[in-house]
Amino acid sequence: MTVTLANPLREGLRLARTPEPACLVIFGASGDLTARKLVPALYNLALQHLLPASFAVIGSARRHMSADTFRAELHDAVAEFSRTRPINEEVWATFARAIDYVPTPDDSSYDQLRQVLARVDRDIGASGNRLFYLATPPAAYEPIIRAIGAHGLRGEGGWSRVVVEKPYGHDLQSAMRLTSVVQEVFREDEVFRIDHYLGKETVQNILVLRFANSIFEPIWTRQYVDHVQITAAESIGIEERAGYYDSSGAMRDIVQNHLLQLLALVGMEPPAAFDDRSVRDEKVKVLRALRRIPQDEVGALTVRGQYGPGFIGGERVPGYRKEPGVAPESQTDTFVALKCFIDNWRWEGTPFYVRTGKRLPKRSTEIAIRFRVAPHRIFTRKASEGLEANELVIRIQPDEGISLTFGAKVPIQGLRIRSVNMDFGYGESFMVDAPDSYETLILDALRGDATLFTRRDEVEQQWAFVDPILAGWHEGRPELASYAAGMWGPEQADALIARDGRTWRRP
């Protein structure tokens, strides 16, 4: 093969680098994630001309079914879950031609998969490039990875990469063990651990806001910031995920991955470059500086809650323990609030309050930077009654955008000051449909760009922070508090922040 130079026709086009021809192998192909997220994302990439000119998808799962049945199921899934509708049948038809299915009910069936991969590879000229996607329940990760190694599923000549879905382990020890199994077959730079929050446009925009502007960074320190609040509120319950959720809870499901990622992006130092190594190095540094909560302080610095019956949007909803599939005496946390500190020069003494919960009044993910009040008060108390400290709010979902509150004079005779809002909304300013985070992440994995994926040491730092809290909870500290569905969590959460003379924002 001739040595290939850069493609001169690429210049000036949207993607400076597109994925090379490749085979995508999805394990867990008969599952929910494949139907709801992965295949709709692939189809939308095809619609936008973003997939390579030759590309194939091979689904695999325990279930026996024909490739035709598999394609038909995916067709219906795309028709139902794609962000663009209705389904474009012409595009689907040629896309579906490149989809195959190989059942892997037992170890020996992986040989069959290897043969199919070799054939497809030859047909489409993928030069051995393979992306393995683990979309199975976590218990299947290890056997599948071992089978990839044992049956020689890695291609020859090209690259092989593996995408691992969350949850990545259920504590530090299991995460480290999973990593050691993964590394029997893949090098660390071939491992793409997904945290789909990182694929969201607004999350990437935290870095743009902080590091492409010169006005925010100088005040992004303990001198100017009073505290930071990170909220991920969901109004839904656990839907059909009781089996998984009841054994994990909000701490493992949301805090360990998504919220600690947001915290890292807000708290990190400026990276030297926007590439996978620089960005992730900085994230790891800040996670390492995140003060561990010792077991004897867990009672004071954390709140765990579980929702009881209540109302959401006027509808009566059952309590967590009455949800189908949940044990009637379940101790699982559906709400978490934490107060934590980053022990470094920039953030010394600045509290970060973090909370997440299910069955809260509305769906909202946001980061609020609360600044200190003006150092010297020149206006009378009466004049500045309605004035609050400046606040910068990064809204991640829904209504993505950024707003800044500041004081302004009320335009009447005499002096009254009130807080007003300066608002930037993505929707209004760009009016484009943001791509789904899975589109961004699958494309990045195909291109080998790991910036938006979680590195081994990041995952380990996250678990190292979460493990002692879970251990404290295991000892019964603090007590599991209950809250009515449709309220902003248990009153202990309000008390946690009220002790410092502060209050939670109402998102």
Partner: protein
């Protein structure tokens, strides 16, 4: 200010104002009213301007069409639009400036504030036009100048407006003799502003699809071995309306990216077609044929298909992109040594002017690739 003779449709263009100050006062009043109206419905209304858009038109129909596009576009790029309607060179017309403004209400969804001003300048337009535009521009925001029709090659009013602009937008699909007028567009670069040709924007999906063939490492060597290019472009049924600017831009793009030099223009077999012999960097010849074809459902001038033939050693290859008869899709096929190696159908809808402009407005810098394509075409002319 002199009174206007002809009546402008106030229902469309909004209230009249007697001076620029009065116009600004009126806009402020309209903004407040819109905010109050939104608040009554429990919505908030932000004045999120991202750019000034100046539209130059010489006929009211053009101005209206542009205004409608701009209003649609405002949902994506909130802006202040200044539509200049120029009644130029009309003898006996009293020189006058007529101003109208309104704040259109967007229907449904997120309300966005968008301001539209019509400045109808009559009589000796050329000298006074910039003095009308300058005070109306929102400070610190980029100025985009959209020129409907063919830009004149040497004209004071264009020069004056161009000095204000950061970006100049034309649509070379409207050019009758593109082989002669496209080089004029290249000349506009002297104003040191970015140039956007909507017809170039129409080619973006074509460029993406062509480039993708050569993203495949085993096919990339064929880029250096191209022997022939054929491109079809749509004409009307009688074959009279020849607008070859899009097909020429495809050629200019390939030639500039791959370092081809023009050798000679040959007489084409069919009327309205173009036939060139070009030379690759290694000296081998590339035959280029641009053919007019009648295609139902395609706008005149739109490219209907591109076929790239190549040979490397004893291997031959053909890369073909062809619009499907439904005119909403294209088939991209790679044939290597006579065997179809990849074939797929991709969406290729005809983009409306709104999508094109919206896409281009998202890019703020200069498009060097377009300028290089124009330069390659100048060498051909």
């Amino acid at each position: 200010m002199a009174t206007a003779v002809t009546v402008v449709d106030e229902a469309f263009w909004g209230t009249t104002a007697t001076s620029i100050d009065a116009l600004e006062r009126e806009l402020a009043r309209l903004r407040r009213a819109a905010v109050a109206h939104a608040m009554e419905r429990g919505q908030t209304l932000a004045r999120a301007s991202v750019l000034n858009l100046v539209v130059y038109a010489e006929r009211e129909a053009q101005a209206r069409r542009a205004a409608r596009t701009v209003a649609d576009l405002a949902l994506r790029h909130p802006s202040r639009a200044i539509v200049l309607l120029a009644d130029r060179d009309r003898e006996g017309v009293v020189a006058s400036v007529q101003l109208h403004c309104h704040v259109p209400q967007s229907g449904g969804g997120q309300p966005v504030l968008y301001e539209q001003i019509l400045a109808r300048v009559r009589g000796d337009f050329d000298e006074r036009v910039a003095s009308v535009v300058i005070p109306l521009l929102v400070p610190d925001l980029p100025v985009f100048l959209w020129w409907t029709g063919t830009p004149p090659s040497d004209a004071r009013h264009l020069d004056d407006l161009a000095t204000l602009a950061d970006r100049f937008i034309v649509d070379s699909a409207d050019f009758a003799r593109a082989d002669l007028t496209l080089p004029e567009v290249a000349q506009l670069a002297r104003h040191r502003m970015g140039i956007t040709d909507l017809n170039w924007a129409r080619l973006t999906p074509w460029r993406e699809l062509i480039a993708q063939f050569f993203d495949v490492p085993i096919w990339r060597p064929f880029l250096g071995g191209i022997t022939g290019i054929r491109a079809g472009f749509a004409v009307d049924m009688d074959g009279h309306d020849i607008r070859n600017s899009q097909a020429l831009l495809v050629l200019g793009w390939l030639a500039s990216r791959l370092g081809w030099r023009p050798v000679e223009a040959l007489a084409p077999a069919e009327a309205g077609g173009l036939l060139f012999r070009m030379q690759r960097a290694d000296g081998a010849a590339v035959m280029v044929r641009l053919r007019p074809r009648f295609e139902r459902g395609l706008d005149t001038g739109d490219v209907s298909g591109v076929r790239i033939q190549a040979r490397v050693g004893s291997d031959t290859a053909e890369f073909v992109i062809k619009r499907a008869p439904d005119q909403r899709h294209a088939t991209a096929t790679a044939i290597v040594s006579g065997v179809v190696r990849a074939e797929r159908v991709v969406p290729l809808p005809a983009l409306g002017i709104r999508e094109l402009l919206g896409e281009e407005l998202a890019i703020a810098g200069n498009d060097h690739v377009y300028e290089a394509a124009l330069a390659a075409l100048m060498a051909l002319a």
